[in-house]
Amino acid sequence: MSEKNYLTTDYTLRSWLLTTDHKRIAILYFASLIFFFFIGGAAATAIRIELATPQADLVSSDIYNRLFTMHGIIMVWFFLIPSIPNTLGNFMVPLMIGARDLAFPRLNLMSWYIFMLGGCTALFAILAGGIDTGWTFYTPFSSLYSNSYVIVAAAGVFIAGFSSILTGLNFIVTIHRLRAPGLTWYRLPLFLWSLYATSVILVLATPVLAITLLLMATERFFGVGIFDPRIGGDPLLFQHLFWFYSHPAVYIMILPGMGVINELISCFSRKPVFGYKFVAWASLAIAGVGFLVWGHHMFVSGQSLIASLVFSFTSFIVAVPSAIKVFNWTATLHKGSLRFDAPMLYALAFIGLFTIGGLTGLFLACLAFDVHATDTYFVVAHFHYIMVGGMVTAYFGGLHYWWPKITGRLYSEYWARTAAILIFFGFNLTFFPQFILGAEGMPRRYHVYPPEFQVWNVLSSGGAVILAVAYLMPLVYLGYSAFFGARAPANPWNAPGLEWQTSSPPPEENFATQPVVTREPYQYNEAFEAEPQNA
């Protein structure tokens, strides 16, 4: 254990800030994302506490609007979108394909700096006085009416977008060009298929967000612009452009989570993923069809009925590959040998929560019901089931799974399981009542609300407190383990992936010798189990 690994090659600050090692850049991202996650989480907690009573008692309307806007912007662009790709992805992609690094290591570092520049700009907008447009920046409110720091916040998101693009570009080229000898496409771990699909969306959708925000900011700056209804401009054009990015962005958030789940489910049931090729292509199908559905955010906006019809149809279609994945994960469990370590608990929670989120997505794709449910708490509950119940759960699962590889230390299994179970219950208590609120007709982004909605709001706020505590727990026990935990062996889960074939933590050059791949992925068969691991 005295060999140099990527963490111990050098200890200077300079060696971290100027590193081109994908593993160190992943750690840089990880530290930044924890910071943003807790800022966004603090805003969420404040929102839920305010909503415990129908009146305004904690904050004024103005502050409330700034809180949920900040929560949305920070969580979407500075936590969810970069979360798995930029931390776990950055760390694991080269390891899983047996490469020395990503294709463009300096671009990778640059993308972190761009991300931080964007993040600081957004933080500045918040500290300077906040922004009250909601994360969707709808015109003409954002461009002509809001009295807050819209341009600065939009600039932050705009800048962070380039970081996303560079990461996506890097992953695409890396997965195409740097795979180890013998590692064909159908031998890739499914995590990489999903990251590849994610990268396609990052590269092709993000620029449209950039131009949209630029157009909006120009309109705000000059007081007249391309969406301005006073000169015949159409505010719905903004929504089309915005959702052309922001709906696929939902898949940016969930696809990497699905990828992680494949690794966890197969490892802890000691079986290959059922229907490998279907799951792999389902990722790409979601990425592709995901670009055809954006108009389902606009069923009541006054877009043409024909457009609504087409978008509703495509929205049902995009649910098919998601359903395929859920069925395949369940089938993977069949006749496995299931162990319920913390990562597996997260994976099982993911399947349940994602399925609820997906099914309620069908409710919203269904035109007539969407007319009632859109812009209510039903939507809020639905997308939190996907993004928090799905993505964040998968992220935590992946983090626990690869933690020994990343830090070379083992965490406390007892605390990890406790936190996982607490997160599951806290989450459901927070967000399930919101489905009911939405069906009852409580609109979202309401600071005060009619008293008959209070019961479910109190339950939701109570759940949020549990959830907040549960999310703080990993910070403590994982943080502790990173410095004081027991040393981890190279392959603590006894998994066949390439990333486990090098030491924990990996050396700076990843592999002592260039690995050569000779077998299919997820070969948890008898021959593999009999092999001596960690020799």
Binding site: V208, D234, L241, L292, G295, Q303, I306, A307, F311
Partner: protein, 91 residues
């Protein structure tokens, strides 16, 4: 002493592009009704294809590069098609 000369294909493409430019400007002044827009966009597409195939060397590239080059256009098509669908079918 011939190593500095540009290959004929490049010169041909350049002259062809300038000729197409002259053609498209000239045709813009011929009243064709809705046809003017079609002609302008078609000639633009031919010019872009010339640049891509010869200046950007796509004619020498393998399928993967072509797919990468085409992906942007394909998604642009999705954006324009579904985006315009709303505005064209509104009543």
């Amino acid at each position: 002493m011939t190593q500095w000369r540009p290959p004929l294909a490049l010169v041909g493409a350049w002259l062809g592009l300038l000729a197409l430019l002259a053609l498209t400007v000239a045709l813009a002044y011929v009243p064709l009704g809705a046809g003017n827009a079609v002609v302008a966009m078609s000639i633009g597409t031919v010019k872009a294809a010339l640049v891509a195939a010869i200046f950007m060397e796509l004619r020498h590239r393998n399928g993967l590069t072509l797919v990468f080059a085409g992906a942007g256009l394909f998604w642009l098509g999705i954006l324009l098609w579904l985006g315009l669908m709303d505005f064209v079918t509104r009543t």
